[in-house]
Symmetry: C2
Subunit: 312 residues, 2 copies
């Protein structure tokens, strides 16, 4: 079965004048529907709310929404819908990302079209991080001046090609979320979080977890045609980023992965992880106050593979 | 300017009962038009004819046609059109290839749709060579038993990211073919060939060359958005393949490249080229008598790059 795991991501930050948690639930369901996805479940605390979606996740906090959607969703439309409910001056920043996809020809829009739409609402800039023929991340951001807090960091680990125990466990059909967490070691990754997960049928797995204002989220598309896992969190300081990457890689044992990191500081060292080669890196100070870091890593030894017989 | 350099390739081999050189030129122009491209010029000898196209090349020999087209061409339609002029039993073999593209969302069809079309005319098999998230080649071939001659070999070198002198020279606007050949060292690559080349305006370059039944062809899309060069030849024995690869790489100095090789023999060694890392390899004995070899290679040291500002 062909399923696009690679995701689009939207982060919309508002000024103090707005409290997104005060928006009625019907509005969030409207934004979710605008992307062509639907809410499956939610978990919340006094800081925020996390919706598990049929295609990934939506996190809502007082000052921001973070929405991640895979498949053939139209996330830029959710962004435009959210802006309809805001005065222009209430918008502090918009970030919109798209990873290069497995099946771009099946998407309803491409990044360029999405960026043009967003640019009409909030003027911004669009970048490609990484060579066009290699793994790369498209990034659009608004150009308004924005001063992120020092603790305002986001770490994304985007993984390709599950191996070993993870590949096996995630490909077992019709298992429960609990079975998957125990079997893969996901249950030992972080502690103290309220976890809301969902095992799709026959395969596929999503998890949201919140703890105060901290979150992490995991989405697994184990299909052999396009094996993909995304992990995202704001729980990291720059200091323990490498440790987090290592523990996540230990669970999923990917053949290759990207690291995407946003923070307020200027320079950071290029990530190097034992057993992987760093194949490319981009560090850019964005016009909006954030710095973005992107790097791609793949297995140290190229492995000879068999030709993959396609169903036509 | 966005231009898709990555190509589709069709090879159609006929039985002795047919002489493709006897087909009227109007028929070839019809096949060329079916792909949505047009002939610019041609060069011929007693063995065959090479058309330079507005999107790459068509070679016609007594027993086969080889057509390579880039851009948003519809090469599978040329294959179907050619089959209309042939009895089914006259067709010895069909091969159809598509490299992963820079801008797949802009294509008029994807490989799966093309393969389904071909499969209805001549039942065959479709493969992906290489991981789906990495550089990879799609290959469709007919399943009829076919016995290629020992000398029936094809070498393709598909190159990404021009560097150095080649990048500069191919990006100079409105230069003549002769200037490009001299400046880049292309004129010293092989001798004894009748050469037909074309420098596109403002940039872009194509070359066909024939010598008896041997040919080579080169297509250069130097645009910084999607820098790509293809080289293909049947002049190689397995013995001097590595030497040919080295001399071609010397001209174009790519950041990364693929090697695709077809021949009748079973096993070949994995290509290793100084200064490049072999990132993946596939060796497959196809059901039709040929063996295919595919490998991807990239620069040894990952280089940090700047974010690439996109025009939206």
């Amino acid at each position: 079965m062909i399923f696009e795991g690679s995701e689009k991501k939207l982060e919309l930050v508002v000024q103090d004048s707005v409290n997104l948690l005060a928006w009625p639930e019907s509005r969030w369901l409207e934004l979710i529907a605008a992307a062509g996805t639907q809410a499956i479940s939610k978990v919340e605390n006094s800081h925020g709310r996390a919706y598990l979606l049929s295609e990934s996740s939506l996190f809502v906090w007082r000052d921001r929404m973070t929405m991640i959607t895979c498949g053939t969703t139209t996330l830029a439309d959710s962004a435009l819908k959210a802006c309809e409910y805001l005065q222009s001056e209430d918008i502090a920043a918009i970030f919109y990302e798209r990873k290069n996809e497995y099946f771009p020809q099946m998407q309803k829009s491409d990044f360029f079209a999405d960026a043009r739409k967003l640019n009409q609402v909030i003027p911004g800039r669009a970048y490609r991080l990484g060579h066009a023929d290699e793994h790369h991340l498209f990034l659009y951001h608004s150009c308004r001046q924005f001063e992120p807090r020092k603790t305002d960091t986001t770490l994304e680990i985007l993984m390709y090609g599950l191996r070993g125990r993870a590949r096996e466990a995630f490909n077992e059909e019709n298992r429960s979320g609990e079975w998957i967490r125990m079997q893969t070691g996901l249950d030992r990754l972080f502690s103290g979080y309220s976890v809301d997960d969902h095992a799709f049928s026959p395969i596929g797995y999503s998890l949201n977890a919140i703890n105060g204002a901290r979150y992490y989220t995991i989405h697994v598309t184990p299909q052999d045609e396009s094996p993909y896992v995304s992990f995202e969190t704001n729980l990291n300081s720059r200091r323990d980023m490498e440790a987090t990457i290592k523990s996540v890689l230990e669970v999923f044992q990917p053949r290759a992965f990207d690291v995407v990191y946003f923070d307020a500081k200027a320079e950071r060292e290029i990530v190097n992880i034992n057993g992987y080669v760093t194949r490319g890196a981009v560090r850019e100070k964005l016009g909006c106050g954030f710095n973005v870091y992107y790097s791609h890593h793949s297995e140290e030894q190229a492995v000879e593979t068999a030709a993959y017989l396609l169903e036509i």
